[in-house]
Symmetry: C2
Amino acid sequence: MEPIVVAGTQLHSTEEKQRYREQVRKLRKGKKGLVIVNTGNGKGKTSAALGVMTRAWGRDLKVRVIQFLKHENAKFGESRAAAKMEIEFGGTGDGFTWTSKDLDTTKAKALHGWELAKTAISSNQYQIVILDEFTYVLAFGWLDVNEVVAWLAANKPELLHVIITGRDAPAALIEHADLVTEMREIKHPFTTQGIRAQIGIDF
Amino acid sequence: MEPIVVAGTQLHSTEEKQRYREQVRKLRKGKKGLVIVNTGNGKGKTSAALGVMTRAWGRDLKVRVIQFLKHENAKFGESRAAAKMEIEFGGTGDGFTWTSKDLDTTKAKALHGWELAKTAISSNQYQIVILDEFTYVLAFGWLDVNEVVAWLAANKPELLHVIITGRDAPAALIEHADLVTEMREIKHPFTTQGIRAQIGIDF
């Protein structure tokens, strides 16, 4: 019998091979929800997730957005838009850590965000769940990336798309993801021209 | 007097230096519309532009989107969303060139798109104008990139943001742009797993 090798691992049992073939069949039919990661030091990681949110909303799909490190009550452009679109959009952080005066609270809120995320993901009520800035929670070591990946593997509904954004996506997350894009900064107005963040563009 | 060097060019006249200092002052105050380019072979170029569109709409800014190479009447997620958001969203192409049976028509429609773009940009009616897939029109040589850049330099209202998306952004466009991001494909489900485009995610 012909061996099947997936990501460097040879599948031995007939069961493994059947599972793999079934997986590929579903993927080819477009019947699998993807784990999507937008990472890198450039712009557009959150914006691209918001763009997918907008497309999905255009098709009346149900989207849930959890922002891990944004101010809970901040009226950013995206939260204003989500309110108009009646999309559930929740920040759980108390601001970026580099401005935080109380790191323990930030961490506690981020961990609470993951509980919200697990509830949303396993609820089977959404077609897309966006975990915005979630990579930082992993990169800071507040959550174990292997546990997160194992949880996703065991609990993500088959058709649900999960989009994770943020710099420094850990290797184990990239390994698990189906679609990974690096947003690379080629030219940035702050570094080249001293331009600050722009209202409506950046926030 | 201290020399000022911008992008490798030393500014000589007092006028040049004054213009440059005025420019920097406005940039620092966030009072300049940016020319933004999302390029690269990865996902998220159009999605990130749509995300900015959504943010801006959340703040009641006025956005105009011109899609250069999409089917005019196609009911994609983004056009459905734009209709719900009452954003002017026009495709001008008759489909991607690699499926086109009549290249001349495609080219004519793309050139018509540039006329629409010029009207929108110079109208001073918008805060953001998105030229989606516009790089292809330049890369195919249908429009001269230097003429386009010169037109933008002369006619773009100071506060207007223009976002241009697509692969293979020409060097002259990158040179002119304020903010350039390359979306790099790290992992793609079509190449790694044979997954086709997903409704609500990709279109």
